[in-house]
């Protein structure tokens, strides 16, 4: 035993006698995780958060969360002698006088943008592969919680420097709060400690931004990861990968090196961005003043959908109820539309489980094509989100492409209603097409480009059958059938309770699973081969089955 080994053994023994650490090491040291690039998206989110904490700690050393007015002295020259809040002055100070201060500010801002981007793409991966299914529904909800608090973290941080842009962002927030019926003006006082902007909002946002919100995020990340360990990670379909096992590499040493190294990669990329790409040069905007505003100002990307939503809503929707004002022109885009989007995300896993009558645990992921309606709905959702985000940049689109802003706004208003339907339809068709292609491949093999002439003069192309791994990937899925509806009356002719509710669910189930492509069965494959090599040219049609017609082709 070398000295190092002796020291390690000694330390381990010391700790184990006091904590029973050995049990945890035995349990977790060689825990298996499957490998796939898309599993890194969640890691990017986690690491961005760690980097946010590190760079944020640096910034808090120099930031003064106060709205007290002072005359700024020092760099930059354009701001020397200007009256401004201590918050803005300290932001200038940390950018110009603290070495590495601007670097940390820019890393912090880029990390925030990456954090949200990673959360969103990670959610897309989870959604499209069905990783939210049992037993992971609760973890999906925790993820949505993280998305929402992430938005909160971004919003509270963006407003801290007290420059013209952040002040106008707060002013828009104030306008939105005031539109809330009955309690709106009191809510505005609640937030601002009086009239906008007052003297309280920045210290309040500061406390939320550096204490409350990160604490909530940290707690939820803990819960999120704990459940990942509890459930063990999902895996993509493939030979030997089932709902009863997990195939991958051990935590120690492979993932310690890979995931640990990946943290440094993410941090390195953010350092590169912070060092080379300027972001939020607040000294160009100046301290907050309620009068000026700059054209072409955009919020951070994750807020663009709200901004776009506000821009698209026509003003005529503000109504009077007696003497009271109901500002639906603000309430609908700022509260109801995001409410609808988040509600969809929250209820989706439960709705899908209900219409599938699915109570099993799922650990093997779906290929998105094999669940066409889910994939279509996901793409429709993203389409709506992207249209709103683009609408949030309608002024930039207008100036860059010399278009009329009024026309662009009208186009987006219409697209918001038409686009998601179209995206759903197209995506579903593409999925069904890909599934048919899979069937054809399984039944007839790869085209080889080799043409053979028979003695009787007939030409055929030789097809190479799939190997069993290729085939397994294309046949190992379930194509659920729509729920069967029990008759309205029972055997004695008495109307059943809850029939109408059941009928609604059955209808929804039909929407999900009416159009479906069954996986190839061994007998179908045998039949295809029995027909002889000629058939391989004809490109057999995949049977598209309909509700009630559940017999497999091969069973007949």
């Amino acid at each position: 035993m070398s000295t190092t080994e002796r020291a390690a053994a000694g330390t381990a023994d010391y700790l184990d006698q006091r904590t029973g650490l050995g049990k945890a090491v035995k349990e977790f040291a060689r825990k298996t995780f499957p490998d796939h690039w898309s599993f890194l998206l969640g890691e990017v989110a986690l690491y961005s958060f760690v980097i946010l904490i590190l760079s944020g700690f640096f910034l808090t050393m120099f930031f003064v969360p106060s709205m007290a007015l002072i005359e700024h002295h020092g760099a930059p020259a354009t701001m020397d002698g200007v009256l401004m809040s201590e918050a803005f002055s300290s932001t200038l100070h940390m950018s110009f006088d603290v070495r590495g201060g601007l670097l940390m500010r820019q890393i912090h801002h880029w990390a925030a943008l990456l954090f949200m981007a990673a959360i969103v793409t990670h959610m897309m991966r989870v959604f499209f592969t069905g990783a939210f299914r049992k037993p992971r529904e609760l973890n999906w909800l925790v993820g949505i919680g993280l998305l929402i608090t992430g938005l909160g973290a971004g919003f509270t941080g963006y407003s801290l420097p007290d420059d013209v842009l952040s002040g106008n962002g707060l002013r828009i927030t104030d306008g939105v709060i005031k539109s809330i019926p009955i309690i709106g003006s009191y809510m505005s006082y609640f937030v601002f400690g009086g009239e906008f902007p007052g003297e309280d909002i920045i210290p309040r946002l500061f406390t939320l931004h550096i204490l409350v919100v990160p604490a909530i995020i940290l707690a939820m990340i803990g819960l999120h990861l704990m459940m990942v360990v509890l459930h063990k990670h999902t895996q993509y379909p493939g030979g030997g990968r089932t709902d009863k096992n997990v195939v991958g590499f051990p935590l120690f040493p492979v993932y310690v090196a890979k995931a640990g190294g990946f943290f440094f990669v993410v941090f390195g990329v953010l350092a590169l961005m912070g060092g080379t790409m300027a972001i939020n040069n607040v000294w160009n905007y100046g301290p907050y003043d309620p009068s000026p505003v700059s054209a072409g100002a955009q919020p951070d990307w994750y807020m663009l959908f709200l901004e776009g939503s506000l821009r698209l809503m026509p003003g005529v929707t503000e109504y009077m109820i007696g003497d009271y004002t109901l500002s639906l022109n603000v309430l609908v885009p700022a509260v109801i539309i995001p409410g609808i989007l988040f509600t969809f995300l929250i209820v989706y896993p439960f709705v899908e489980a209900r219409v599938t009558k699915d109570k099993r645990e799922h650990h093997v992921l779906d290929r998105p094509r094999n669940v066409p309606v889910r994939t279509g709905l996901g793409v429709a959702f993203l389409t709506a989100f992207i249209i709103l985000a683009l609408a949030g940049s309608n002024d930039l689109i207008a100036t860059h492409f010399s278009l009329s802003i009024n026309e662009i706004t009208w186009v987006f208003r219409i697209l918001l209603f038409v686009g998601p339907w179209f995206a759903f339809w197209v995506t579903k068709r593409i999925c069904l097409g890909l599934q048919r292609k899979d069937r054809e491949l399984v039944l007839h093999g790869h085209e080889t480009g080799r043409i053979v002439r028979f003695a009787n003069g007939e030409y055929i192309e030789v097809h190479r059958p799939l190997d069993e791994q290729e085939r397994w990937l294309r046949v190992a899925y379930d194509a659920p059938t729509p729920l069967e509806l029990e008759p309205q009356t029972d055997a004695r002719g008495v109307p059943r309770k809850g029939y109408k509710k059941e009928r609604r669910w059955a209808r929804l189930s039909r929407f999900f699973y009416e159009d479906r492509i069954e996986p190839v069965t061994p007998s179908e494959l045998a039949a295809a081969h029995a027909h002889g090599s000629h058939d391989e040219l004809e490109g057999a049609k995949a049977p598209e089955l309909h509700a009630g017609d559940t017999t497999h082709e091969g069973d007949r």
């Binding site: 006082y189 030997g240 040493p253 640990g260 309620p290 500002s327 022109n329 791994q469 996986p519």
Partner: protein, 343 residues
Amino acid sequence: MNDNQHSTELGDAQNRDVDRFDDPGLPEHRHRRADSDPAADKRAERQVVVLFLISIIGTVASIVAYFVFRPDGTTDGVRISTLTLGLGMAFALLGIGLAAVHWAKTLMNDTEVTEERHEQRTPDAEREIAVQKLSDGAADSGIARRGVLKGAALSALAIFPLTIAVPLVSSVGGDWNVSKFRHTRWDKGTRLAIDPTGRPIKAADVTIGSVFHVIPDATEEERESHAWITEKAKAVVLVVRLDPRDLKEAEDRKDWSYDGIVAYSKICTHVGCPVALYEQQTHHLLCPCHQSTFDIADGAKVVFGPAKRPLPQLPIAVDDEGYLVAKSDFHEPVGPSYWERLK
């Protein structure tokens, strides 16, 4: 691994359709070159070492940059300092990261292992024990028998947060006097002054087509107080002079303008951005935040966008010395709508 392949068929036979393909089991493992070729193994090791060295050079470079590029208060100076510090840091971090990942991918064992999963659900026998423990505990507490106690405990727990909430809520909204929304700093006789210098404006200064960003005339001391920002947030006004022939005025507002000069609140009636973009030819005023467009020639009515109401008009006149003055405060609350706006 081989055992696994065969056990799939046995284990899943009951709950699987008969006519389904069988899981072929894990694909054959393909070894890397470094697994069999010592030269490739050595090469990969060297690459990892070089990456770690790059990281060390990056850290050193970053420290050098710290001393060499001192921020000199100019934006260029800050930029070069930020750039060099950032590049050094990026190399230091990427070196470590890529080295570790490369190490794992080329040198560590890449044979996949299989771990069994177990259902999340607790087995029935254990569940029964858990339920038994809970019911034992509940029985010990006697909660089911002692209704009054339960009620008292729940009530105490439910209301104790009030001890924190009441003092907090009473102060968190300042004086809670939301009627302040109705009044601004404007009053009868307040001169219109240029924003931000505070110089009062004479009617003669306002030529046709020109536009002035206006604040109420106030002492320098007041303008440098914090309260001023909150006042200014409501009081900013835009003054424009139109050809009186272009101006459409409501009957009851004929005397709110002066010789084609009109003054409108600069706070958007949508969500409160400053409406700052004036287009001289069309007399349109555009809010750069959400593109609500107001027609200054026609009572600042909305012609496009998400706002509903016209911008409130400030009635103006001219005093003895020729300065523009307000005739009164605004006749309605400025800025975004709220529930009791018209009460």
